[in-house]
């Protein structure tokens, strides 16, 4: 009895799926999926590799590169983008000492929201090493008002919030801003970048509100003598944003090797114990 019922239900579900399948096929035949400008451009321009030293199993941050990246962030990105999840004290991981961190915090252009201790009125105060980096705009409305109706996203987690994040940041700011190719417009006339936006071949919908942030070599003067080409600055800021998103990567990789080593010894001993217990038992 149950087999008759199940057979009936099974045939019914297959019939409903066949009905859906029929209309899916009809849909594909009568209205074949049209290629989009985004697919076309992204297929021809895969992300470039930032070749960061933090990549791979043995990946480790290069502290000098992180310092350079922080400098690019501070002098270029920080005008619009916050890193609100990072604290000033975290910069000690970049090789700065207590005094330098304190100086960086107090000298940071945007102050922490606070209250006037005498009157209780809204005020600001200098940043402390224990503070998170302050928001650039008090809220999204203020951000939109100042940026042609676009909100510059917080960058703390940017490299983890995009597929292949470090390569994405590097490609987008270092090599994404090109003149819109003419053949793209002949293929996709609707793809013309609207006024106020900027064509970027690595951005999801190809038109980004952010103007090119890195425009010329030497825009930032590196203290360690590295040549500040646009490519180098893009790489360094990608490295810095990899660190802001995953500050514990070095610890994690180090602990990982210790744990794996321990577990492999455990497996070896456990396998020996297993063989020993079963030595007289065919199975």
């Amino acid at each position: 009895m149950i087999r008759w019922i199940s057979g009936f239900i099974g045939a019914g579900i297959v019939a409903v799926l066949a009905w859906s399948l029929l209309w899916s096929v009809v849909g594909v035949v009568t209205d074949p999926p049209a290629p989009t400008a985004e697919h076309y451009v992204h297929a021809h321009h895969p992300l470039l590799s930032a070749e960061l030293p933090s990549e791979g199993l043995f990946g480790k941050y290069d502290v000098r590169q992180l310092q350079r990246g922080f400098q690019v962030y501070k002098e270029v990105c920080a005008a619009c983008h916050s890193i609100r999840l990072v604290s000033f004290r975290d910069l000690k991981q970049l090789g700065y000492d207590d005094g330098q961190v304190k100086a960086l915090a107090t000298g940071w252009q945007i102050e922490q929201p606070s209250i006037n201790p005498d009157t209780g009125e809204v005020a600001t105060r200098k940043n402390l090493p224990s503070d998170h980096f302050p928001l650039v705009f008090a809220n999204d409305v203020a951000a939109r008002a100042a940026n042609n109706n676009a909100v510059p996203p917080d960058l703390s987690l940017m490299t983890k919030a995009r597929h292949e994040g470090p390569d994405y940041v590097y490609s987008l700011v270092g090599h994404g801003y090109v003149t819109q190719p003419a053949d793209l417009l002949t293929k996709f006339p609707d793809a013309k970048t609207p006024n106020g936006l900027h064509y970027n071949q690595y951005f999801a919908n190809l038109n980004i509100a952010m103007p090119p942030p890195l425009t010329q070599d030497g825009q930032v003067q590196y203290l360690d003598g590295t040549k500040p080409t646009v490519d180098q600055m893009a790489k360094d800021v990608a490295a810095f944003l990899t660190w802001t998103a995953e500050p514990n990567l070095d610890t994690r990789h180090g602990a990982g090797f210790a744990v794996l080593g321990f577990l492999l010894v455990f497996c070896f001993l456990a396998y020996g114990a297993y063989q020993n217990v079963w030595r007289n038992m065919k199975h």
């Binding site: 149950i2 087999r3 199940s6 057979g7 239900i9 099974g10 045939a11 579900i13 297959v14 019939a15 409903v16 799926l17 066949a18 009905w19 859906s20 399948l21 029929l22 209309w23 899916s24 096929v25 849909g27 594909v28 999926p33 999840l85 990072v86 604290s87 975290d90 703390s156 987690l157 983890k160 919030a161 995009r162 597929h163 994040g165 999801a204 998103a245 500050p247 514990n248 610890t251 994690r252 990789h253 602990a255 990982g256 744990v259 794996l260 577990l263 492999l264 455990f266 497996c267 456990a270 396998y271 114990a273 297993y274 020993n276 217990v277 079963w278 007289n280 038992m281 065919k282 199975h283």
Partner: protein
């Protein structure tokens, strides 16, 4: 319970005797997972995965309880409290990555455990109750995992909650009312987040309780084995401890190596980048996809694209739940008396087609809803239902199974080129006279 030759707990010391007379808990453990539980001697590594699932649950409970000490279930601060764990809590990154990847490890071992049961007919008489309780555990796991994924309150958390609770609005007439009641509002918000956290903390303990029933039910007939042949006598079994504790110890080590590799070297590989963007009810992600362990079911849901008497959405929701509910009927859909698929030449082909089919469904479920993937999901979903509801009942009636070995011991000795059973029995034990 268990076999007549099962060893009995014998307390050796005054203290253990005293405890045993008042609360025979050590006796219970001894009979459940100690030397007092006789197990077929021919189990392969696939019989490791029940223990591994238990280990995964234990790891989830331990990491989860500590994470809950630092997490705040409020839409305004949930995302930041997770980042606080990642950055400021000592070893917080380890706890969170262990918990997030622990869910994946739990599902990996449970899926292998389920397919082990399917291949070796572990759902058949007299183990139907073990199987039914297992399906209940699977459903509870899915509910727990879904609610846990909502807690970090990222974009996928929010939109996942939106989509999953949206299933209920497919119910005619009362659907929307039920959805609002479940969420405590018109969209996922603090009320939903708080109740999900509460239930996410509760359900693992319900799972643990059902696991106790699952193991209890298992111990009535005893474990199945790769031949599917019943245990005939003492020579067919070995005591669980030390034989399978030793073997499971090695399996646990391999499990932990893979688990540790994910935590320390690929912690975000199985996650979705969009969940590192704070929840935003005004911005829908380009592709809403659940975690990988839900992909096959998500593909079934999306395979229903045309109305057919009922709306397509309702068909999708019914089929998705039906794809799991039908497992409850499996012991009665498969009427073949042969348990192990090793001896079922015809069913064996369909079994492997099913495995491939579920993998294809998973791949489609994780891909964007483009026509090619939808068409493949429609074919694969049709096979999934046809397999269980049509093919399996027919095959189990018409198939001519290969001859079964007379006993487990005979099968083991045949594999090793034949020696007399007496030589290979447990040293010191007496062959059961039958």
């Amino acid at each position: 319970m268990s076999f007549p030759w099962a060893k009995h707990y014998e307390p050796k010391f005054a203290l253990t005797k005293w405890v045993d007379e008042r609360l025979p808990l050590p006796r219970l453990v001894y009979s459940a997972v100690g030397a007092g539980y006789p197990v077929p001697r021919n189990l392969n590594y696939f019989w490791n995965f029940g223990v591994l699932a238990g280990a995964a649950l234990a790891a989830q409970i331990v990491t989860g309880i500590v994470l809950a000490m630092h997490y705040a279930a409020n839409g305004g601060v949930a995302f930041d409290s997770v980042e606080h764990i990642m950055r400021d809590v000592n070893a917080g990154w380890f706890l969170r990555y262990a918990h997030a990847n622990g869910a994946s490890m739990f599902f990996i071992v449970v899926y292998i455990h389920i397919f082990r049961g399917l291949y070796y007919g572990s759902y058949k008489a007299p183990r139907e109750m073990v199987w039914l309780l297992g399906v209940v555990i699977f459903l509870l796991m899915m509910a727990t995992a879904f609610m846990g994924y909502v807690l970090p309150w990222g974009q996928m958390s929010f939109w996942g909650a939106q989509v999953i609770t949206g299933f209920f609005s497919a119910i005619p007439i009362v659907g929307d009312t039920i959805r609002v009641w479940l969420l405590g509002g018109y969209a996922p918000d603090d009320a939903a987040l708080n109740r999900f956290f509460s239930l996410h903390y509760l359900l693992p303990f319900v799972i643990a309780a059902v696991i106790v029933l699952h193991i209890w039910a298992l111990h009535i007939p005893g474990s199945n084995n790769p031949t599917g042949v019943d245990v005939k006598g003492e020579q067919d079994t070995v005591p669980f401890h030390p034989y399978y504790t030793a073997k499971d110890g090695f399996g646990l080590g391999v499990f932990l190596v893979l688990f540790a590799f994910l935590i320390f070297f690929a912690p975000n590989y199985l996650g979705h980048p969009d969940n590192y963007i704070p929840a935003n009810p005004l911005a829908t992600p380009a592709h809403i996809v659940p975690e990988w362990y839900f992909w096959p079911f998500y593909a079934i849901l999306r395979a229903f694209t045309s109305d057919f008497i009922l709306p397509a959405k309702l068909w999708g929701v019914l089929a998705m739940f039906g794809s799991i509910v039908l497992l409850f009927f499996l012991p009665w859909l498969d009427s073949s008396p042969v348990r192990s698929t090793n001896y079922r030449p015809l069913y064996r082909i369909f079994f492997w087609v099913l495995v491939a089919d579920v993998l294809v469904l998973g791949y489609c479920g994780g891909s964007p809803a483009e026509p090619a993937y939808v068409i493949i999901s429609q074919i694969a979903a049709a096979y999934y239902f046809a397999h269980f509801l049509v093919i399996l009942p027919i095959v189990s009636r018409m198939e001519r199974p290969r001859p079964l070995p007379n006993s487990i011991t005979e099968a083991v000795l045949a594999k090793h080129g034949g020696t007399s059973p007496a030589e290979s029995a447990v040293s010191g034990s007496v062959l059961a006279a039958e």
